[in-house]
Amino acid sequence: MQRRARPLLGTLVEIGAPLGHEAAFDAVAELQARLSRFEPGSDIARFNALPAGGALRVGALATEVLTAARRLQIDSEGLFDISLGSGPDAWRLDGDRLRKLAAGVVLDLGGIAKGQAVDVAVRALQDAGAAAGWVNAGGDLRVFGELELPIRLRDEAGGGVREFARLADGAFATSHYGLGTSSATTRAVQAHISVVAPLCLWADALTKVVALSGDCGHPLLARYDAAAWRHDVPRFA
């Protein structure tokens, strides 16, 4: 099992596998180029620059993640929203055509694409012939094959890590319970939401649904074979 890490997706992406690292890193880099709103040539940046009524043809990575995002938006009754309030129903995907229905709607896949990137990297490893391995994009991780990975949580406030669980054949993602997203922020804690799910795309996206609803028992979790935890970390310093 060889481990390598590169700075990608604004974080460190670590890959542990017997082979296929290069292909997997390339797949993550391609996803970043295609989906990041900060990359001027990406499908998302080009959509954001469109005038109202405009449309563009997007790639397979975009159709995959946009389809998942729409499904989650509907299932969560609007809690999950990649337009971040700029126009939840003002974008539409017809096949590979992405349409902008109103001016001002911009998309940001920050809440779901990191998870998708992990899944895409896992696919690349498997295509390269890796029977087991893991991919960890700054805490959004997935493990596959005959392998059990100990999971530890970073203490964002004080540094260091704590034992949390062991995971086999699944994905695990953690998100910050951000300022302004819940009443919990009025207390002197910083909280994190972790979600376990079969695919990292769902684990990543569902942390947002849980954080925004404040409900670790959100009914959506069961539908995606997922479960959630909230960690309150006392704020020192």
Partner: protein
């Protein structure tokens, strides 16, 4: 079949946070990975304008031909120390960035020179114990801002040296 086994709750809540580290590549491995055709690396030290920190550059060569440049650097975050290698092509573009080692400790500790010193120069030889894995760390904000800033600084320093004609 997905399987998650939770650690006992008391362990999560009460166990003291521990430090961890991961080694990925030695400088030699990174050099070979980025410049597989190089038959030697000439060392050169640059002192970037406005910086007190000298920059060690390994010039990848095959015969007399320069294939590119390799620079090793460390960056320090709030609780982490990251060693990385940047491969730069002869036209000045970034060829590849590889993380060599990652270490994290409790806040504060990492700012102490003594704590930091124990890692310096050890990236190549010191294999880490099993269980000290970044692989299994999940957290909300593991940023690589310091690395991207570092890469930018290195690329700028190399470009300046090239323009000034001081780069071998």
């Amino acid at each position: 079949m997905m399987r998650l086994t939770l650690a006992p709750a008391a362990l999560v809540a009460l166990a003291p946070a521990s430090a961890f580290a991961a080694n990925y590549l030695s400088p030699e491995q990174a050099a070979k990975l980025m410049f597989p055709d190089a038959d030697r690396f000439d060392m050169q030290t640059l002192l970037p304008a406005g910086s007190s920190r000298p920059l060690g550059v390994r010039i990848a060569k095959k015969g007399d031909a320069v294939l590119g440049y390799l620079v090793l650097d460390d960056v320090i975050g709030k609780v982490e120390l990251i060693s990385y290698a940047v491969g730069v092509a002869t036209d000045g573009s970034v060829k590849q960035v590889e993380i060599l080692a990652y270490r994290e400790s409790h806040g504060g500790e990492i700012r102490l020179p003594a704590w930091r010193k124990q890692f310096i120069g050890k990236t190549a030889a010191a294999p880490l114990r099993i269980g000290e894995d970044i692989a299994n760390i999940s957290g909300a904000t593991l940023s690589c801002t310091h690395v991207t800033d570092g890469v930018r600084r290195i690329v700028a320093a190399l470009s300046a040296a090239r323009r000034a004609g001081t780069l071998g």
